[in-house]
Subunit: 133 residues, 2 copies
């Protein structure tokens, strides 16, 4: 049982947090659909979101949820565009605390979304497509 | 002369702002390289970045720079993942002010980066690739 936890900053604007929850739902559906196709079986059984602040669940709360649901391996995915204090320090610190608590469950942090090697191409495509639309 | 201005939040962490500047440089290079290939000629002649706060240039400052450089059409691209107050309110307000000042230069706001229709696929690919790496 592998879990993916998408971590967003969290906002005072409820719609903004809901957007992250919806993205997580869509990610879960897509990952499930893909697992019937060509995607490796090592993909995620559980996909959750968590927030650094201002919304629930918190990062420790989301990790607890994943563990309670039976996860034996957790991937934390920082949904951040650049590596400020949150990506470099706050998230790793919170994860480290939880890792001490669940020492038999590896918790790894994936590169944040802004680090996607193809981001430049994606942006140019997005701008072209939205110009056409 | 068309300009693209990528707008990021801005951070107290200098490296984080530099990451945005570097992204903008890479975007400029890639767009230039692409314009020799199959990309429409209506692409961008000028690519700049601007920051909502905590870093320079500001959004009005970046628009001024684009105009001074000869832009006749400006696209603002919010480099934000969800539509909080910044995307929904702060950026449009600053743009509107500048639009009043430069009434003969259309300034349009493109959908923010979190709105890329293929974001889900990009994320899953990114997670798979970083697992392999």
């Amino acid at each position: 049982m592998r879990a993916l936890i998408l971590i967003a900053h969290g906002s005072k604007v409820i719609a903004s947090n809901d957007e992250i929850r919806e993205l997580t739902d869509n990610l879960r559906e897509k990952a499930r659909a893909s697992s019937h196709e060509a995607m490796p079986s090592s993909f995620y059984d559980i996909i959750l979101c968590g927030f650094l602040e201002l919304a629930e669940p918190s990062i420790p709360g989301a990790i607890d949820k994943a563990v309670t649901a039976g996860s034996k391996h957790i991937t934390i995915f920082p949904y951040f565009l650049s590596s400020g204090r949150h990506v470099a320090k706050d998230i790793p610190e919170l994860v480290k605390e939880r890792q001490l608590l669940y020492s038999d469950i590896p918790i790894e942090i994936a590169p944040y979304v802004g680090k996607m090697p193809k981001m430049i191409e994606y942006i140019l495509k997005h701008l072209q497509d939205s110009k056409k639309a």
